[in-house]
C-alpha cells in the first residue's frame, strides 16, 4: 500500500462550500501550519544493512543512527558519555561489575507486519549483545554474522557475562577492570534491538528481514529503503528523549560529491555529506549555504620501525622529526583543512597535553643527530605511503614526495613504496617497512582508543602498532589508565605518556585533519560530532 504526502497539501473536502471554508481557514493559519518539515540529506552511499553491529562503514552507521539508541550515548556534539536507554549505572569497587538501570516506558517503533506489544526491557539488551557474543545464538549467523567492531573493541574477551536481574536491571561482568567500556557501549555496534521483533521474524521464517527493515527506539522510525536511491524516516512521536524538530528525514543517496554540491545549491537537499575540499572556498562564499568545521578526531603519522636499524636509535627518529618541514605539508597538502599534530591525540580529546612541544624544523640539527648516532651518509631508507586518500590524509603520495625532498637535504635517500590498500596495511602490520605513513580515526572519544596503537600488546607481528615500539614506561601507564575510573588520574597518566612518546619519537605526528560540513542556511541546530558521522536530532529548518 502506498501513502501520499505532499507538502502543504490541503485536505479535500466533501463539498465545495466546506472546501472553500477549509481553504480560507488554512490560509488564515498560514501554509506552514499544514506543511510537513522535511530534511533531505544527500548521503554518500548505500548502507549494507540497518544493523550497526554487522557493519564497519560510516555510511551504514549514519543510515541506522536515526533509528536506534544504545545503553549510553555520546552527548550531541561531544564525546561525553551520557545516559540513554540506561538511566543510570553503578560500578563495583573492583571495577568488574557494572549494573545498568534501564529506562522505563521506552516504546519500540512499528513497521509493516510488526506491532510491538511491550516496551523496551532487559531481554532486548541481552538479545543485542548475545547475538554478537554467542556463536550458537539463533541470530549469530544471520546476514553474514561478522561482528567486527564487537571483536575489534576487545568485547569478546572483556565481556564475561551479561545477566538480567529483573526487567529493568542488567548486570555486566567484565574479565578485567576497563575504563573505556562505557565509551565502547556508546558506539553504534552496541545499539539495542527488539528481541520481540527478532522472535516474531524467526517464527515466520524471515530472520534476514531483521537487518533490512529495522525496528528501534530512536528519534526517527524507518519507513522505507529503495536500494541505492533513498531511505525515508519519520519522526517518532513517542520518542523517550528530545523530540525531532522535523517531520520527515530523507536520505537521498548521491555518491558523486559534485552532484551533492549541485543538489544542495538547487535546494534538492538541505545537507550534503563530505564536501570536496576543492569546493569549500566557493561554498563559503555562497550566501545560501553554511559551512561549519571542526578538528577531526584523527591523526596522520609517519611511523618508524624501531626494530630495524638505524631506527632502533632514538636520535635517528628525532632527526627524522627535525628534517621534515611540517608547515609546508600543512600548507601544500592539507590546504588549510588540517592542523599540525604535536601529540598522538587531537587537541579536542580530553587529556591532551598542551605542555608537549613539537620538534622544530631544523635540518642542520637533524644532520648533527644522525652523525652523533653514527649514521653515515647517504642513508638508504624506504618510505611507504598509502595508495588511497584517507580522512586524516588527503594525499599521502604528495606528502611522501615532500618528505623525500626534505630528507635528501640531510643525506637520506628515501625510496617511495606503496601497495594495494589491503596489502599495504597487512605488510605494515607485519613490520615490513622501515618507515611508513598511516593514521587513525577515533571510535569512541577515549584516549585509550588512540594510545593502544603504541602499546606493547599491539607491537606483535600483525599487530596495529606498526612502529613496533614497546616502551615499558609508556605501556605500564597505558595498562594502568585503562583500569582506573577517575578521569583525573587517567588524564595525568595520558599526559605523561604523551611526553614519553614525543621524547622517544616512534613516529612523526603529521596532522589532524579538519572535518567540514555543508548545509543550507535554513538548517539550524546541527551539531558536528567529533567522532564524525551525522545525527539529525535537534536539527530544524527555518
Amino acid at each position: 500500500m502506498s501513502y501520499i504526502r505532499k507538502t502543504g497539501q490541503i485536505a479535500k473536502a466533501g463539498s465545495a462550500k466546506i472546501g472553500l471554508a477549509a481553504l480560507s481557514f488554512a490560509l488564515l493559519l498560514g501554509a506552514s501550519a499544514v506543511s510537513a518539515k522535511t530534511l533531505v540529506y544527500c548521503s554518500e552511499g548505500s548502507p549494507e544493512n540497518f544493523t550497526p553491529a554487522l557493519n564497519t562503514t560510516g555510511t551504514s552507521f549514519d543510515a541506522a543512527r536515526p533509528i536506534y539508541n544504545q545503553l549510553v550515548e555520546f552527548e550531541r556534539g561531544s564525546t561525553k558519555v551520557v545516559p540513554a536507554l540506561a538511566e543510570s549505572w553503578t560500578t563495583s569497587p573492583d571495577g568488574l561489575e557494572i549494573t545498568f538501570k534501564l529506562r522505563k516506558g521506552v516504546k519500540w517503533h512499528s513497521v509493516t507486519g510488526f506491532k510491538p506489544t511491550r516496551d523496551m526491557n532487559a531481554d532486548d539488551v541481552l538479545f543485542s549483545f548475545d547475538r554478537q557474543s554467542k556463536p550458537d545464538h539463533p541470530y549469530a549467523k544471520i546476514s553474514g554474522g561478522k561482528y567486527d567492531y564487537f571483536a575489534d573493541m576487545g568485547m569478546t574477551k572483556l565481556l564475561k557475562s551479561l545477566v538480567k536481574k529483573d526487567d529493568y536491571t542488567i548486570v555486566m561482568t567484565l574479565s578485567e577492570p576497563n575504563a573505556p567500556i562505557l565509551a565502547n557501549l556508546a558506539m553504534d555496534f552496541a545499539s539495542i534491538h527488539s528481541a520481540e521483533y527478532a522472535d516474531a521474524l524467526l517464527k515466520s521464517g524471515k530472520p534476514e528481514q531483521f537487518d533490512q527493515v529495522p525496528v528501534g527506539t530512536g528519534p526517527f522510525s524507518f519507513i522505507t529503503y529503495q536500494k541505492d536511491a533513498v531511505i525515508r524516516f519519520k519522526a517518532n512521536k513517542e520518542f523517550w528523549g528530545e523530540k525531532a524538530l522535523i517531520d520527515d528525514l530523507v536520505y537521498a543517496i548521491t555518491p558523486d560529491p559534485t552532484a551533492r554540491y549541485s543538489k544542495l545549491k538547487a535546494n534538492e537537499c538541505q545537507f550534503a555529506a563530505y564536501p570536496r575540499p576543492a569546493d569549500l572556498a566557493e561554498m563559503q562564499k555562497d550566501p545560501s549555504l553554511k559551512v561549519i568545521s571542526q578538528s577531526g578526531l584523527n591523526i596522520a603519522y609517519w611511523a618508524f620501525n624501531v626494530t630495524k636499524k638505524p631506527f632502533d636509535d632514538k636520535r635517528v627518529r628525532q632527526a627524522m622529526n627535525m628534517a621534515i618541514d611540517k608547515a609546508a605539508i600543512m600548507r601544500d597538502v592539507y590546504l588549510g583543512a588540517g592542523t599540525a599534530a604535536i601529540n598522538f591525540i587531537p587537541p579536542t580529546l580530553w587529556s591532551y597535553n598542551t605542555a608537549v612541544k613539537d620538534y622544530p624544523y631544523d635540518p642542520a640539527k637533524a644532520q648533527a643527530l644522525l652523525k652523533e648516532a653514527g649514521v653515515t651518509a647517504p642513508l638508504e631508507i624506504d618510505l611507504w605511503y598509502m595508495p588511497v586518500q584517507r580522512p586524516y590524509n588527503p594525499n599521502a603520495k604528495r606528502i611522501a614526495e615532500m618528505m623525500q625532498s626534505d630528507l635528501a637535504k640531510i643525506g637520506v635517500n628515501a625510496k617511495l613504496v606503496t601497495y594495494e590498500w589491503g596489502e599495504y596495511r597487512k605488510r605494515a602490520q607485519q613490520g615490513e617497512p622501515t618507515t611508513v605513513q598511516l593514521g587513525w580515526t577515533g571510535d569512541n572519544g577515549d584516549p585509550d582508543n588512540f594510545f593502544f596503537l603504541r602499546g606493547c600488546a599491539a607491537a606483535r607481528p600483525g599487530g596495529q602498532n606498526i612502529s613496533k615500539w614497546c616502551n615499558e614506561e609508556f605501556d605500564s601507564r597505558l595498562k594502568k589508565a585503562a583500569t582506573l575510573t577517575d578521569p583525573k588520574e587517567r588524564t595525568k597518566l595520558y599526559e605523561e605518556m604523551q611526553a614519553i612518546m614525543k621524547e622517544d619519537a616512534p613516529d612523526m605526528t603529521i596532522a589532524h585533519s579538519i572535518v567540514f560540513e555543508v548545509m543550507r542556511k535554513e538548517v539550524e541546530g546541527y551539531k558536528q560530532s567529533p567522532l564524525g558521522g551525522h545525527k539529525f536530532i535537534g536539527v530544524d529548518i527555518k
Partner: protein, 337 residues
C-alpha cells in the same frame, strides 16, 4: 530461418562461457579481497580473516571456486552478495528497471534525432547543415560522458534551473512504493498529481547524456548509408518513374539505408550499458551501473560476477535479436548469400 536461428544461438554459448571465465578471473586479479576491504586501519586478526575467507569459500583453489560458481549458474544461482547478504539476482532485478528505463529513453532520443538528422545531412550533402552536423556528431562521439554530464548539470540545472540535478523524482513532494520499478509507470500508478511530470523532468538530462554517443553514431551511420543508397540505380529508376521525392526517399532509399543502421542500434546496447555506469553515477540514478561501481570498491565478487554476466547476457540477447531482425529485413543474409 530456423537453421539460421539455431546457428546464431549455438554461437552465443562459447561467448557466454568465455565471458563467465574472464569476469571470474579478472576480478580475482584485482588486489585485495572482500574481507580485507572491510577492515580499514583497525586490521583483522589472522584467525578471523581465515574464518571469514573460509565461510566465503575464498580459501578454496581458484579452479574449485570457478567450478562451484559455474555449477551454481547452471542451476540459476548467481550467488549471494558478500556485503548485503542478498541474492545477486534479487538485487539485480530490483535495480535493473531503472537502468532499462534510462537506456530505453536514451536510445529513443538517439533514434528520434539521429536518424532524421543523418537523412537530412545526406540529402543536403556538403551544405552548412551537413558540415555542422558532422562536426557536432564527431564531438558527441568523442565526448567523455562524465564531463558532458557534469557540464549539463552545471548549465541546465544549476545556471538555468530547467531540470533537477539528479535522482528520479522530487523526494520532498512525492512518495510511493515502487510497483514496476519503472518510475514513469509507477508515478502514473501512484495517482499523485504532478508525479509523472516530475519523473519525466528528472529523466531528461540523464537521457540526453546517455543518448549522446549513440545519437552521434547513428547520425553518421545513417548519413553514410543513405549516401550510398542514393547513388544506387534503383533510386535513379524510381526518380525516372516519376515518383515523388518523398516516396523515393521514404520508401525506397531509407528502408535500404536503415539495414546497417539496425545493426548499429543493436551494437549500441553494449555502449549504452557501459555509458549507464557513468551516467548513473553522475545523476545518482539507482540502476545496475552504480551498483556495479560500488561492488568493485567493496570487492563484492558475487555481485560483480553476477551483475556483469547478467548485463552481458542482455547485450548478447539484444544482438541476437538484431541479427534475426537483420536476417528478416535482408533475405540475402538469411540465406547465407
Amino acid at each position: 530461418m530456423l537453421r539460421f536461428l539455431l546457428k546464431r544461438l549455438a554461437l552465443t554459448i562459447p561467448t557466454f562461457v568465455a565471458l563467465m571465465f574472464v569476469t571470474f578471473v579478472a576480478i580475482r586479479m584485482v588486489p585485495g579481497d572482500p574481507v580485507e576491504v572491510r577492515t580499514g586501519e583497525r586490521g583483522i586478526s589472522p584467525e578471523r580473516l581465515a574464518q571469514f575467507r573460509h565461510e566465503m569459500g575464498l580459501d578454496q583453489p581458484v579452479w574449485k571456486q570457478f567450478v562451484d560458481y559455474a555449477w551454481g549458474l547452471l542451476h540459476g544461482d548467481f550467488g549471494t552478495s558478500v556485503v548485503t547478504n542478498e541474492r545477486v539476482l534479487t538485487e539485480f532485478l530490483q535495480l535493473f528497471p531503472a537502468t532499462l528505463e534510462l537506456a530505453f529513453f536514451g536510445m529513443v532520443f538517439a533514434i528520434l534525432i539521429g536518424i532524421p538528422a543523418g537523412v537530412i545531412a545526406a540529402l543536403k550533402r556538403g551544405s552548412i547543415f551537413d558540415q555542422t552536423l558532422m562536426g557536432l556528431s564527431l564531438t558527441g562521439f568523442s565526448m567523455p560522458i562524465f564531463w558532458w554530464g557534469l557540464l549539463l548539470i552545471m548549465l541546465v540545472s544549476e545556471r538555468l534551473g530547467w531540470t533537477p540535478v539528479s535522482g528520479r523524482i522530487d523526494l520532498i513532494k512525492f512518495y510511493f512504493e515502487p510497483v514496476t520499478g519503472f518510475m514513469l509507470i509507477d508515478s502514473l500508478l501512484s495517482d499523485q498529481a504532478g508525479a509523472f511530470k516530475s519523473a519525466l523532468h528528472h529523466l531528461m538530462l540523464p537521457m540526453i547524456v546517455l543518448g549522446t554517443v549513440p545519437l552521434a553514431t547513428l547520425a553518421r551511420m545513417t548519413r553514410s548509408s543513405m549516401l550510398e543508397v542514393l547513388s544506387e540505380d534503383y533510386v535513379r529508376t524510381a526518380y525516372a518513374k516519376g515518383l515523388s521525392p518523398f516516396r523515393v526517399i521514404g520508401l525506397h532509399a531509407l528502408r535500404n539505408a536503415l539495414i546497417p543502421v539496425v545493426t548499429i542500434i543493436g551494437l549500441q546496447v553494449g555502449s549504452l550499458m557501459a555509458g549507464a555506469v557513468l551516467t548513473e553515477t553522475i545523476f545518482s540514478w539507482p540502476g545496475v551501473g552504480k551498483w556495479l561501481i560500488e561492488s568493485i570498491g567493496r570487492r563484492d565478487y558475487p555481485a560483480l560476477q553476477g551483475g556483469i554476466l547478467l548485463i552481458s547476457s542482455i547485450v548478447i540477447v539484444v544482438n541476437l535479436t538484431v541479427d534475426m531482425l537483420y536476417g528478416f529485413i535482408n533475405p540475402r543474409i538469411r540465406h547465407g548469400q
